[in-house]
């Protein structure tokens, strides 16, 4: 079985792969609305010849092997209060990865040698510390930077551990990321489930993420406990058992990281780094593999779907049109499951869905996860919905015959929205636009040396966010999630957007009014467009929380 998760390779292999990364090919760098047709088409790959791969669990260090050098508590906020119970060491280094048997091994920048990186299985009230060591070479040819900083997307973490883009560091350095895994504001309704981590290096996020620096960060608690046989009466007992790339376990809770990539005629991953609008691939990858298959039993599954990007928007359907239950958007369980037959995902958005395969006729032996969103360039989707039959297929789901025991449940009530109980002290307006060919927010270019909003800890604010022009912008907020008060003047209650969000896709001319609390931590954070090509080209603001 071939998987894109490749152990460390010897230096000779790596150098060879690097030398061939870009190969020799002509590329037309001009960019028009029809540019996709101009870009090099990737070589043909036969679909459904490889199984869906899974990243391994991250393994904490054994207690008898403390970190060296020791963690400096003075570098962290409230360290003693949230003293880590688990320590992890994450080396970041280059290796080569093959996304499909018919393509070549291409160099990737990886956490621990695999992409997606090891899945961090976290639990509320169990603080952890992840030491991320930059072991990249000081000279890397091609796209991607050897500078890194790691952001846990949707994490409620201190600024110094948040992966603030200005805290990038080069080879030979490490950073200790302290994850208190606390409930924001101490409110149990603030618990989150599906988070992910990725590189956030200033100016190079898109290149580094595309080159492999991404992984899942899953949070559990007594309700979303990750155990469908949990005897705790509070437990939701959602389909459980996150697969582990190293060990075979129950596997009904399936992380799916979607990314589109492009390959040169030699089968090496390429990226047009001069493209300012966004990068589109023509190969759909799930957990790093191009068009894999996955065997499912006739029972309920939880799929945690993540749009890694860099610039692709998805409208995900099952090819037979069957409905499923949408239980979480981004990291948040919804107040109640919503029965839908498709979900839309902008870059960095997530959706947890429950698909019940026991409902399928016995004659159905396979269905596909398809993307019906038409998108012809990095600016955003056209708004057209592709016909089901001609939509790109991402993942083949092979239905095993025979009924199986299924103890999992989907409660009718999941996670009510937290109260908006902090008084609003200020209202701010942010306009995501473009001027002189540059991405701007409120007409300004990002400058991390400038604080664009200083916010007092323990307060709440209302922000009005708007866009214009011909680009879609998934707007992402660090540290805190937001309640969408209105979207284009209308309430979103009762929709998949009715919960909270940390990233929300705004299309040309859209407006959104949000409520946010600013709690628990001090320091520098950012809000930015999560079309990470736009983010790298200055579509970001810095905001600080101060005492």
């Amino acid at each position: 079985m071939r998987t894109p998760i490749t152990p460390a390779v010897d230096r000779r292999t790596f150098v060879k792969g690097t030398a061939l990364t870009t190969g020799a090919f002509f590329i037309n760098s001009k960019f028009t609305t029809q540019r996709l047709a101009d870009e090099p088409s990737s070589p043909f790959t036969t679909p459904w010849v490889q199984p869906l791969p899974f990243a391994p669990y991250a393994t904490p260090l054994p207690s008898f092997e403390p970190l060296f050098p020791a963690v400096d508590p003075a570098m962290h906020q409230r360290y003693e209060e949230f003293a880590p119970q688990y320590f992890y060491e994450y080396p970041v280094f280059e290796t080569t990865v093959c996304p499909h048997p018919q393509l070549a091994y291409s160099p990737r920048t990886t956490y621990c040698g695999c992409t997606p990186g090891p899945t961090l299985m976290m639990r509320y009230d169990r603080p952890a510390l992840v030491r991320i060591k930059n072991q990249l070479p000081s000279v890397m040819t091609g796209f991607g930077s050897c500078d890194i900083t790691t952001h846990v997307h949707n994490g409620h973490h201190p600024s110094e551990s948040d992966g603030y883009p200005g805290y990038l560091y080069g080879p030979g350095y490490y950073n200790d990321h302290h994850y208190p895994n606390m409930l924001a504001g101490g409110d149990p309704l603030e618990s989150k489930s599906t988070l992910w981590y990725h590189d956030h290096c200033m100016d190079f996020t898109s290149q580094n993420v595309y080159r492999g620096l991404t992984g899942f960060f899953l949070l559990f608690n007594n309700t979303d406990s990750g155990n469908e046989n949990d005897t705790n009466p509070d437990a939701f007992r959602l389909p459980s058992g996150v697969p582990d790339g190293k060990r075979v376990r129950a596997r009904y809770d399936i992380p799916l990281a979607l990314m589109d990539a492009r390959y040169d005629p030699n089968g090496f991953q390429i990226m047009d780094v001069m493209n300012m609008d966004g990068h589109l691939g023509d190969k759909y990858q799930v957990n790093g593999a191009i068009q894999p298959y996955f065997h499912v039993e006739r029972r309920k599954y939880r799929f945690r779907i993540l749009n890694v990007g860099p610039s692709r928007f998805y409208d995900l359907w099952l090819s037979n049109g069957m409905s499923f239950q949408h239980i979480a958007n981004d990291g948040n369980l919804l107040p109640a499951p919503i029965e839908v037959n498709h979900v839309k995902l902008g870059v960095a958005e997530r959706a947890d869905i429950i698909v019940d395969f026991s409902q399928l006729p016995v004659t159905t032996t396979e269905i596909y996860l398809v993307n019906r969103a038409e998108q012809t360039n990095g600016r955003g989707p056209t708004g057209n919905t592709l016909p089901m039959g001609s939509s790109p297929k991402l993942l083949k789901l092979v239905i095993k015959p025979g009924a199986v025991l299924d103890n999992s449940r989907v409660p009718s009530i999941l996670k009510p929205k937290p109260a908006m109980d902090l008084p609003v002290v200020r209202e701010r307006n942010w306009h995501f636009g473009r001027s002189n060919g540059m991405w701007v927010v409120n007409g300004q270019l990002v400058d991390l040396n400038r604080c664009d909003a200083q916010i007092t800890q323990g307060t709440a604010e209302i922000w009005n966010i708007s866009t214009a022009g011909g680009w879609a912008h998934p707007v992402h907020m660090h540290l805190e999630e937001y309640h969408i008060l209105s979207y284009n003047g209308k309430s979103v209650e009762g929709t998949g957007l009715g919960g909270r969000k940390d990233v929300f896709s705004l299309y040309p001319g859209d407006e959104m009014r949000i409520y946010m609390k600013f709690r628990d931590w001090l320091g520098k954070y950012v809000m930015h467009c999560h079309n990470i090509v736009h983010e790298d080209h200055a579509m970001m603001i810095r905001w600080d929380i101060v005492p």
């Binding site: 090919f25 960019f31 060296f68 060919g437 270019l445």
Partner: protein, 256 residues
């Protein structure tokens, strides 16, 4: 529109350009075999010198060593010297490049100032780590460019060149650097021209961009960001913020 007033934002319904779309012909020997695993180094036989850049705006070619070659346009600098774009300006260099013109009353002077301050930040510490290129969008004469540079105190600075060429040449370079608009009218509008700076390291094919109107620290960081790590200092406030939490990895654990 007044000179250099902020340009209106683009429109999704922009007219489409139909410039020649050169297809990405693989260089010799590229397609052979799609078998899994590593390909042989000998699969690639083309070299930069043996292939021609395909027609079309902003086209370039990737070389076997992972670098890229642009068209070797002819330009003149502020002293009237003739320079080749690929051979003299790109090949082997680390650089920061922007697009401007001498008689601009808007963002150009500010861009020059910010880039000059970035130069000032880096020069005392690193000498001349990068070249600074300013490409004229308006076919400025060498004399005008020289006068502009003298007036702003940048004339004579090692590695700083203002460069002029026919508009279509500079447009091709601009497109090659990714600064263009799909709308022909907006793309050609001098009043709303790009304010971005492109940072490049041709030797490692490392590229990034940031606003040339950004702070000097931002621009300096952009330059350092495309440099090999072992050739750049960890400048406080530029590459590393003063409150940066990262620490150096020790070489070895002490003996116990």
């Amino acid at each position: 529109m007044s000179a250099h007033a902020p340009r209106p934002e683009g429109d999704a319904s922009l007219t489409r350009r139909h410039a020649l779309r050169g297809l990405l012909l693989p260089a010799a020997g590229l397609i052979g075999g799609c078998a899994a695993g590593q390909k042989s180094r000998t699969d690639i036989t083309a070299s930069a010198s043996s292939v021609e850049i395909p027609e079309g705006l902003g086209t370039f070619v990737m070389n076997p060593d992972g670098t890229r070659s642009f068209k070797d346009h002819v330009l003149r600098d502020q002293d009237g010297n003739t320079l080749r774009f690929q051979s003299d300006l790109m090949k082997g260099h680390i650089f920061a490049a922007n697009f401007m013109y001498v008689h601009c009353k808007g963002i150009c002077q500010n861009m020059t100032t910010q880039m000059s301050l970035a130069y000032d930040l880096l020069q005392p510490i690193m000498g001349n780590p990068a070249r600074f290129y300013s490409f004229s969008l308006a076919e400025d004469s060498p004399e005008d460019m020289k006068e502009y540079m003298i007036a702003r105190g940048i004339y004579g600075r090692p590695g700083w060149l203002m460069l002029t060429a026919p508009r279509e040449v500079v447009r091709d370079i601009r497109w090659g650097f990714g600064f263009f608009d799909p709308n022909e009218e907006i793309d050609q509008d001098l009043n709303g021209h790009t304010g971005m700076a492109r940072f490049g390291n041709q030797k490692t094919d490392k590229w990034s961009a940031c606003p040339a109107l950004g702070s000097p620290q931002v621009i300096a960081r952009g330059i350092l960001g495309v440099m090999p790590v072992n050739e750049r200092p960890q400048l406080a406030g530029i590459i590393r913020e003063s409150d940066h939490p990262a620490r150096r990895i020790p070489t070895a654990k002490p003996a116990t």
